[in-house]
Amino acid sequence: MIKKTLNKIEQIKVPEPCTSLPYNITLLDRNFTFTDLKHVLGAADISKAGDRKAGLAAADEIMREAARAMLSSLTLQHFYDNPLTNINGQIDSVMIVNYDINQAIFATITHLTLGELKDELLKSNGARIREIGTALTGVMAAALTKLLDVHELVYLAKKLKNGATAKARTVVGLQGTLSSRLQPNHPTDNLSGITMLLYTGLSMGSGDAILGLNPAIDNVANISSTLNHLDKIRRETGAPTQICVLSHIKTQLECLKAGAPVEIMFQSLAGTERALTDEFDVTVELLDHAYETMRKNGPLRDIAENFMYFETGQGSELTYNKHDGMDMTTTEALCYGLARRYSPFMVNNVTGFIGPETHLDNNEMMYSCLQDHFMGKLMGLAMGMAPCYTLHSKVTLEGQQMATELLTAAGANFFMDVYLGTDRMLAYFDTSGHDDQTLRETYNLRPAPEFLTWAISHGIFIEDADGNILRGENWGKPEIFCQSKSEFQRLQESVPAIYGFENAGARPSNKVSRLVKANQAVGREAIYADLRPTELGNIKLRELHTNAHNKAEYLNDAELGAKLENNILANLKAEHSDVQIVISDGLSAEAVHHNIPALLPVLLDGLNSRKLKIGQPILAPFGRVKLAESIGDALQAQLVVTLIGERPGGDALASRSMSAYFAYRLADNATQQSAAKFSGNAEMHYEYSVLSNIYSGGLPPIEAGSVIAEKIFEILQHQAAGNRLENLLQVHIN
């Protein structure tokens, strides 16, 4: 039910933080001492890449079981009395919100140990489990989850299916349903391309949860434009659903104020205040304001009971190094405690999106997804899932599909529909409309009732005499929404990597699947291929090494590729070049192989024409963008241009895409102060510009060489990069 008012933050009771004491336990003949509760929680989970990097994962199975035994013995009151604190020993705003629990119910379970709570839940029905969930903080939910095996995570979550509904235009989460968010992401927010992807998804019965676009460009004009476009398509097709463009909450508030149809308000959440505020630029106060604004002014205020949409995923706090010593599952549960405050229409979990630094392989991703789904449902959320992967992790399509099968069994409210599973904007892989339909048929599920009625009326589904929902003759035929073949053609041409619309039952035809997989294979190979210096042309390069010594180290720890090895740094002397070129494989060595031989000679011709002092180009395998600063500081170069392979997506050709990053060193005080004043960041020492999409299907390498040379001239002439440079150039033109 909709919450009419929010409890005031200052009225939420939270115990004072107490001095952390070690937790000691003996298992068999081994003694274990955990520094504090955070370390017990970290060690009790399965081993995951992010927790290993944070030093929280158990060293072995016995240690893990010792931590679980320790957790099992602690009462809920103990968890209550020991709020986890931030790095300054304080309780942050996210933790405070997590203590906004049902105190009356908590009073009835406070004495239970976690082990007893687990057994109690397994013996209870859904209503009782849900009731207990209202009395749990995120930390308690996370601790409990670490005691559950796969069957228990599925079994308990399934009991919570009834009651996990939320209502906007449609009701999502009813028993017997599996809904979907139709995600028509396009790399340039091209409205025709978005239309094509919407038509495709709608024709497959997707989108009953929401038509939700991740925008490529986050400004008020573009977000308003895309919102109005989604609204237009919704009205024209008559599909009973709701729309959302997933931009920053501040942008959406401005769009709403300007009259754009912000039907559902989106925001990504983090489980620590530092990550939430510093990285996502959001506070609890701002979320409260957005909620109240939607309640009073949202377009669906008269019909929706829920109108907020949150996305979370294990590991975001860790990648920003703002996890405050907590493991990924715990910070994820804290996100749910924050989300619960706003009774959201949807919470979508995208564990797997970040990559191998948080979840290395299928096992880590699958188990985490099951944990997240259960924790969200336990805490009363309308929980949907987006088990997903990037090509630079070891998570595969097969692992992702196994996760969706398990999550369907567990009663997830919704999955994504990304056309053929390949997101063309975010370069990652998610569930598809084919997957959603396959799961609906396998588990005898259907879309939300209002949407089903509409889909039947359009021949997308049919209902047989026995009440079974089957695919109709128009299922998978996006052209049913087009006025003509010409319109259909124009729409198709606006989407990259259209592989075809032929289906075999609920699946894509084998021909289409082979194309999708072959493109993925090329992308993955591009990541794992090593740099081959002999394929980079005839220009002599000097090879310098970063702290990442192999591909695995490089992929699993972003910091390693951001610095040269210490012994190399120690031997480098200041060269004071105007321009230093650095070439690195980044996330696609093939991009470097395909572009550098044509690009570098043109670039050097351009630079030499101005008689600039150019450092001998550097080849730095396993480098990150930030490596420019390590090299720039050591060589005292004025400008470091890093040519680096981009993260491959699902398009084979685009896996050869490279970027050029221009890192301008703010060497003198006046320039530094000017840049700091412009950006608001007093500490900045480099300004960045970027040129992306360099490959034969985008900006071809020969032309890119020339464009990069001209950009270098501009940066050096105006002694500025990034937006400050663009502003100066604008002034110059005017």
């Binding site: 460009i217 010409s486 053609q489 972003a558 044509a598 970027s659 032309e703 990034g722």
Partner: protein, 487 residues
Amino acid sequence: MNTLVDKALRTKASTSRFGERVTLLGLDFGSTTSSALLASAQISQGTTGHLELGEVKIEYRCEPVLTPFIGQSINIPEVALLVQHWLKQSGVSVNMLFSGGSMITGLAAQTDNAKALSQLITSIMGDNVIATADDPCLESWLAFMGSCSALSRYHTDMPILNFDIGGGTTNVAFGLNGNVLDTGCYFIGARHFQFAPGSYQITAMSSYGVALLDALNIHKGIGEILSADECKKIITFYVSALEAIVLGEHDFFKLPIANKLCQAPIHLASNAQSSITFSGGVGELIYQYISDNILPSTTFFGDFGIDLAKAIVNSPILSANLKTCVPEHKGRATVVGLTLHSTEISGNTVYLPKPDCLPLRDLPIIAKLALNASSEQWHNALVLAAKHQHGACVQIFDSNIDTPNQVKLLAQNIKNGLATSEYPQYQPLVILLQTNIGKALGNYVSEWGKSKVNLIVIDEVAPRNAHFVHIGRLNQQMIPVSFFGMH
């Protein structure tokens, strides 16, 4: 963290130019009617990063009005008032126009003051609208683009032959996968004979109508009534001519009268196996007839339009694809083509050191050279170009350009040509090519800006068989390029 940093940087680097809507205009002054169309389109990035106009929305279209004539001449003051009326009604001012095209077509283009009208449009509309008269093959191209462009790309492997039949001319275009491969134009149309509506009493005839009557041994003049048999003879001749075009029977047009009606022949092979589509006023009637089986009464419009439409529907050769291959915009194909396709958009990395030198109107395309053209070929072309004080254009028919050496060699040949031809330093020279290497080529030719040659290299523009080009002002990183003179 890097991912977020990267994304933020990319977004900031590329935000400002997307999403803006621009206004496009088309004006069509035909043998029978004149019409105006205003559309808006959104600047967006295509799948390869190329800026393009998409999300086209028709903002205004006037009801077609009879083209004002005084005798055999266009009533220019009346047209001026008409244009002002359209602008006022649409709420658009001239300085809002991003691009557009104005064309005097059919019999209107045959009048003695068609060029004066063209000049009038230019004076009213300014630099961004290209006004042309009597450019029949361009009209055929535009009609195809306005009606069949997307349809042709949908049926990738199926050639399409489009007949745009208006009052005075039939503009024919043959295309495959969205590209027009050949064009032609014939004085076959509804309005060579004008009648008192509801009868076949002749009120006016064009010179082509008179010649046809003579050839068919029909001896009737103004005020007299054509018999049913005579009407049938005329219509049968027209249909036979159209069928001959479809079947590639070139001998048909060796007949003196057929030859007279051929303004610009199309050279289709006899086994072209095209799907046939129709546009123009008669095309509109054809699709209306097969859809509803209803047409207005005899000579309702005072011409042969209805009879010609019915006869085409009854021709098995011409009507084979009427239901399976349906074009867009039909009667308005030309004006839609003018609005949306008169102007092409350059790539967004061009070589343009002095943007203020644009626009460059009516540049002759003095040579079309291959990528590997020699210094001597460039010399010859640039000697010719040097004679055009306001500037000239050379089109490069490029194929695969993969290596910097290919670009350097091309640049060297151009440099040699510029030197030996003594091409005037401040005289504009525009090089057009298709591959995205405009900035690189320009930089190599100009020695990275050191040379004072007034060079502009515009890329990502497909080659066209035209004699003139108009280069518009730099707008939102894009240069509008319009071709004309496709005789």
